[in-house]
């Protein structure tokens, strides 16, 4: 589904990604772990099309199509979804309006009829229950004044509404209490299917108890330095990153 070959990316002339290689097939769940500042969010943002990051070389294809040629909104319509590490607050745009506009943009792209306000309201209420967000959150500004955990649940709410092919979850588990972690994991598990893939960035093995990954990768210093099965996450939890030859954050980003 997703194929990343020798991907290099910089921000403000500083190279962050230094040759990422990754293959993700439909139905798979991949976890990316790694020290702070190693480039995990950068990779996620680059895949979603954030122009603040410049791709200097390499290749990314989604189902054979060159992803890097597409605008952000086209990538989304082709099925890329990024749950942001820091979801953006947009006062003045109601969450409901935002979600409906997004869902209808996707439907329009697929040649389906747009959903009217009443139909959408019904759907949005159901899905917000699924992520344990009170429907009153639909009326508020997008993420406006949401707590950290509420923002994360709102990201999963969006993923459930948009039904992406590849969901990239950037630390969707951080800042969640135990119940919220369960809710979010259930949401992610509900997304799992044969024709969908999930790439999740996390620091914690605990998430991987709920969402069992097929592969675990360690990203450090802008490269994937080790890949393995889920047991790799347990090993990291136990030993830290030291045994992989990374001492600290400083070194990781060099």
């Amino acid at each position: 589904m997703l194929s990343i070959k020798n991907l290099h990316a910089s921000v403000e002339d500083k190279e962050i990604l230094k040759g990422i290689n990754l293959e993700i097939k439909a139905g798979e769940v991949h976890a990316i772990m790694g020290p702070n500042g190693s480039g995990k969010s950068t990779l996620s943002q680059v895949l979603a099309g954030n122009e603040a990051f410049e791709v200097t070389s390499g290749e990314v294809t989604l189902n054979g199509e060159n992803l890097l040629d597409l605008e952000t909104e086209e990538r989304a319509r082709e099925g890329i979804f990024l749950a942001f590490q820091y979801p953006v607050e947009i006062p003045g745009v109601s969450n409901l309006q935002f979600l409906r506009t997004a869902v209808n943009a996707m439907r329009q792209h697929r040649g389906e009829e747009e959903m009217n306000a009443a139909e959408f309201m019904k759907l949005a209420r159901e899905v917000s229950k699924q992520v344990d967000l009170d429907p009153s959150f639909l009326k508020r500004g997008v993420n406006e004044g949401f707590s950290g955990g509420e923002k994360k649940r709102n990201e999963i709410l969006q993923a459930l509404l948009l039904q992406p092919k590849l969901a990239i979850l950037d630390e969707t588990d951080s800042g969640l209490d135990i119940d919220a972690l369960k809710v979010v994991s259930d949401g992610v598990n509900a997304l799992r299917s044969e024709d969908r893939a999930i790439l999740m960035v996390t620091h914690y093995q605990r998430l991987l108890n709920h969402i069992v990954p097929d592969y675990v990768h360690v990203l450090a210093g802008g490269r994937i330095i080790k890949s393995g099965g889920r047991e790799l996450a347990l090993e990291l939890e136990e030993k830290g990153y030291g045994w992989l030859g990374i001492k600290d954050e400083e070194e990781a980003s060099n």
Binding site: N50, E73, A76, F81, V88, I90, V93, A102, G141
Partner: protein, 428 residues
């Protein structure tokens, strides 16, 4: 040295016979003050940024015809008065029929009533700051006196549709006076629209005189076309414990000027002024507001937002004048601006004159751009760039639009603003 240009005398000698004698006398008096009135230039302080947009040719001095179609009138829920070129169209109007509420055309006033009104007209405005209100005073041919007896409450909003129309150049001078008795209440909606494509001038004055405890809401939508220059003034005087609320939504044009002056003359008075302005292409819009805290213990709260795209130009000048006796005044003025292109211009200026020592006066102004990260967030959900821009731009003013207390007007404003921004971001 070159002689500074003055207002062409063509503007000063209108014929009119439909008004009672005291109002004709008032017109004459106003005309006499306009002889040799210097036209604003960029050196005129209160026209500094806008003088270059003002283009009054002699042919525009002609009064626009009184007849005309009322085709453009918007559907309104409530009472409705239609003015075409400053003259009321009775057959298109629906007046309330309620005790304590009298709505009369100037032409229908008795000599006594007209004589009383002639003393009131213009009394809410500071002539030094609103030269063009005098032009309206010299030229109005009709007008509406809305009198609310003490305690009278108008049960639905009153809509006044001001349509300026012409297939040859000319001008129109609509005039409204609201005399709000003690503890009376009403909501007045004014919609300024236009049709035709000749060069037109709409020179308007609306005044509100609030006795103690009166509670008046004024909503003003300025939606005239690219052929219309608009110079309007709204004057408000408030007595003890009265409340005035204003919501202005303005779309840019070749020249748009609105002066809003509020004088808080009685203790405990309160005013809330909201304004939204959007401009694109080469459009212009200039809001000058002035709040005079004359009496003690009054509150004023002012929130204006401008959005300028392309090569357009928006101006906000907010004056707050706290007089020596106005202790415990509480004034809060906030102006935020969104600049959508580097070629657009926004000028914002607070003007504070404070002569009392025990007051709270806060003011703030910002000029910013659309937030790239918010834009990325929206498009990353598949929302098209144009639509995302429209959403974010609307978001900048939504808070104010949502406060418009009449649903039909709120929806009209929202719809028009959306259409406007879709045009703004057409080429995105």
């Amino acid at each position: 040295m070159k002689q500074a240009p003055t207002l062409s005398s063509a503007f000063l000698h209108p014929a009119c016979d439909q008004l009672p004698e005291p109002l004709l006398a008032l017109r004459k008096q106003r005309a006499s003050t306009l002889v040799d009135m210097p036209m604003p230039t960029r050196k005129t302080e209160n026209w500094k940024y806008s003088a270059k947009y003002l283009k009054l040719d002699d042919e525009m001095a002609i009064s626009l015809p009184n007849e005309g179609k009322t085709g453009n009138s918007l559907a309104v829920p409530g009472y409705k008065v239609v003015f075409i070129n400053g003259v009321m169209v009775p057959e298109a109007s629906e007046f309330p029929d309620m005790d304590g509420i009298a709505i009369k055309r100037f032409g229908d006033l008795s000599i006594d009533e007209a004589s009383a009104l002639s003393l009131q007209l213009g009394s809410t405005l500071d002539p030094k700051r609103t030269q063009f209100a005098h032009l309206n005073g010299a030229r109005f041919e009709d007008g509406l006196l809305i009198s609310l007896k003490p305690g009278a409450v108008l049960d639905q909003p009153l809509f006044i549709i001001h349509e300026t129309w012409g297939d040859a150049p000319g001008s129109a001078y609509p005039r409204i006076f609201v005399d709000a008795g003690a503890n009376s209440q009403m909501t007045l909606v004014e919609e300024y629209i236009s049709s035709g494509d000749a060069s037109l001038l709409a020179n308007t004055v609306t005044e509100f005189d609030l006795a103690h405890g009166a509670n008046i809401t004024s909503i003003r939508l300025n939606m005239e076309g690219e052929n219309v220059q608009h110079i309007g003034a709204t004057g408000v005087v408030q007595q003890r414990s009265s409340r005035f609320e204003s919501h202005c939504v303005g779309f840019g044009g070749p020249l748009r000027r609105h002066d809003l002056q509020v004088r808080l003359e009685g203790e405990g008075g309160e005013c809330k002024l909201n304004g939204v302005v959007v401009t694109q292409g080469k459009q212009h819009y200039d809001n000058h507001t002035c709040i005079d805290h004359v009496a003690a213990h009054c509150n004023s709260e002012e929130t204006y937002r401008n959005i300028a795209a392309d090569k357009s130009h928006a101006v906000f000048n907010g004056r707050i004048h706290i007089h020596p006796d106005a202790q415990k005044s509480n004034a809060d003025m906030n102006n935020k601006n969104l600049l959508l292109n580097s070629g657009a211009e926004i000028d914002t200026k607070p003007e504070l004159e404070i002569y009392a020592d025990d007051v709270k006066c806060a003011h703030g102004a910002t000029i910013g751009q659309l937030d790239e990260i918010s834009l990325f967030y929206l498009v990353s959900r598949g929302i098209g760039r144009r639509q995302a821009n429209v959403l974010l731009t609307m978001a900048f003013i939504n808070e104010l639009v949502e406060q418009i207390p009449v649903e039909a007007v709120r929806e009209t404003a929202q719809m028009r603003l959306n259409e406007f921004f879709e045009q703004t971001f057409q080429e995105a």
